[in-house]
């Protein structure tokens, strides 16, 4: 799996799926359209500033709340290549894997990395490098079963290959 490399957008605890993609936009399921409203209610400038490959870093319980898969879909379609957090809410965690948005749990990295840092994530080793500060962190690698789903780029392909 290709390493992620980009600039960091940083958020706090309990970023819920209502702020990732507000329900007023859920009358669409088009990834491109959803991406234009991603993070709108907590960071109006996100959509303007994000570029392909950027990385999102947050603290505890990222993606809590609604099960809307539109949340990871909008993040992925906005160009984000990886989300790093202390912990993820469980439905968001499943959804991200199922749609092929790389995510990684690493409490140390989530705390230490600053907004705007240049960060690289090597998914094979789970190593997160903050190129700006020179710090390295060991993120939690996926269990083999989930790795298989990710290798297939999502659950649909995994089921098709079984």
């Amino acid at each position: 799996m290709k390493a992620a490399h980009g600039r960091v957008f940083k958020y706090g605890d309990n970023v819920d799926t209502d702020v990732i993609i507000p329900a007023r936009y859920l009358n669409s399921s088009d990834p491109k359209e959803l991406a234009t409203h991603c993070m709108e209610d907590i960071d109006k400038d996100f959509v303007k500033n994000v570029t392909e490959g950027d990385i999102m870093v947050a603290n505890k319980n990222f993606g809590c709340g609604s099960s809307r898969e539109h949340a990871p879909i909008s993040i992925k379609a906005s160009g984000i290549s990886c989300v790093i957090a202390e912990t993820f809410a469980r439905i968001f965690y499943r959804n991200a894997i199922n749609i092929g948005l790389p995510i990684i749990e690493c409490p140390e990295a989530a705390v230490a990395i600053n907004a705007g840092d240049e960060v690289e994530v090597d998914f094979d080793s789970g190593i997160i490098t903050d190129i700006t500060t020179g710090q390295k962190f060991q993120g939690q690698a996926f269990p083999p079963f989930m790795q298989k789903i990710i290798d297939c780029e999502g659950l649909v392909n995994y089921i098709n290959q079984k």
Binding site: D18, N61, A89, P143, V156
Partner: protein, 420 residues
């Protein structure tokens, strides 16, 4: 090592003699659920899968409840997509306008969820059916698609937290106060990835509607599921609503729990969650003077008969405070009719409230009660996140139907004792 109630249900559905926390399993599903927001995404995914149709036309439920009757053209397109899918695959449990209700009130009422089931739903409040002694959990649309195609889902077996409920709650204390108290105590990620298993003598004092409310909000503590043991109240409910066989599971004596809490229900007070997290709880005695613009009584959390009865008993013969908009939403057509026959609808309308057809609308800021900048709502719903019910500068206060009804009368957050 003993198993929790959740683990026993999962083991049985995975065809294994036992399972333990952290184990990855594949379990057979008794029901796969989706709504008008999540199903279109799932249908798009299932169409990419190399499968012939769905695994079982009677074990899929598609409920059009979030944005129906459709609020705009895009939501109408979504419902059309689901309607055509349901027709093509002869889905027997497809519920559209006229038959629909809010999914988590509707499915138990229709007898589609019973004790011992494993249920996934593309809606986070799918955990509601734990009230009946089932394992049920929310997933996303792709999991729903895989569930519809294969009748199976993968799970990481959860560990559990035990909540020992003892004592009898006071008059105005309901299931909503119990679960808000718990979320306030353990936080919105206090049960992350875990089961919340409710046990204890206090459960006998909780009606089925109270239990459905408590299990419904397990997700607001990050829980994978919330589950109650099966007792006479559960059996009576299932016999009334379902013809399906049910299986009762009980936790082993030596089951292992990550944490255990004892909660004396007799000490609880009506509880309110302040913006912008369900964990920001205060008892009614601590709320201070909070003026409100809107009240919503309804949702998958609190739109059932008990909720409407207690609200009406408080509002009967009184008038809604000037300047407050009160929206009452019976959760299903049956509840609507029963409320009408009991005279509750008349009570609400005479008090100055409106009564709507079943919909999730206002709970998620969809329609039917979207709020403007700076407005405040006391709501019996389940989430008070930033922008949840409208403008990012609006505020949601989560409370029981009794507190919501009392607040409707006074125009500020109030306990029922203040108006009774």
């Amino acid at each position: 090592m003993g198993m929790t109630m959740t683990q026993k249900i999962l083991a049985a559905h995975a065809g294994l003699p036992s399972v333990s926390a952290g184990q990855l399993i594949e379990a057979d599903l008794d029901l796969v659920l989706g709504n008008d927001i999540t199903s279109p995404v799932a249908i798009h995914e299932i169409e990419k899968m190399k499968v012939d149709g769905v695994f079982h036309k009677d074990k899929i439920a598609l409920v059009m409840d979030h944005f129906v009757p459709n609020k705009d053209i895009k939501s109408a397109q979504h419902c059309k997509c689901v309607r055509e899918f349901a027709c093509k695959h002869e889905i027997s449990n497809y519920f559209d306008v006229g038959e629909m209700g809010i999914e988590h009130a509707l499915l138990p009422e229709k007898g589609l969820t019973v004790a011992g089931d494993v249920i996934i739903g593309a809606d986070s409040h799918t955990c509601t059916y734990g009230a009946l002694g089932a394992f049920s959990t929310g997933v996303g649309s792709t999991d729903m698609a895989a569930g519809m195609a294969t009748g199976k889902a993968w799970f990481k077996v959860p560990s559990a937290i035990k909540f020992n409920l003892v004592g009898k709650p006071a008059k105005w204390v309901s299931g909503k106060d119990v679960i808000l108290h718990i979320i306030g105590m353990i936080g919105v990620d206090g049960a992350l990835y875990k089961s919340m298993e409710f046990v204890g003598d206090g459960i006998q004092y909780l009606s089925m509607d109270d239990r459905l409310t408590i299990a419904n909000m397990a997700i607001e503590a990050g829980g994978k599921n919330g589950i109650f043991p099966v007792d006479d109240v559960t059996r009576a409910y299932m016999k009334e609503h379902s013809t399906r066989e049910f299986v009762e599971y009980t936790a082993d004596e030596d089951a292992v729990y990550d944490e255990e809490y004892t909660i004396d229900l007799s000490t609880l007070r009506p509880t309110v969650a302040f913006p912008h997290l369900p964990e920001n709880t205060r008892t009614i005695d601590e709320v201070g003077d909070v003026k409100i613009d809107q009240v919503v009584i309804g949702s998958c959390t609190n739109g059932r008969m008990d909720d409407l009865r207690i609200s009406a008993s408080i509002m009967k013969g009184k008038k809604v405070a000037k300047g407050v908009r009160v929206i009452v939403i019976p959760a299903t057509q049956k509840i609507y009719l029963d409320a009408m026959e009991e005279g509750l609808i008349r009570t609400f309308i005479e008090a100055g409230a409106i009564v709507s057809t079943p919909t999730c609308g206002p709970c998620l800021g969809g329609y039917m009660g979207v709020m403007a900048e700076g407005e405040r709502c006391v709501s019996t719903t389940n989430r008070n996140f930033v922008g949840r019910m409208g403008h990012v500068e609006s505020e949601v206060y989560l409370a029981s139907p009794a507190v919501a009804a009392a607040s409707a009368i006074t125009g500020k957050i109030s306990g029922p004792e203040e108006v009774m």
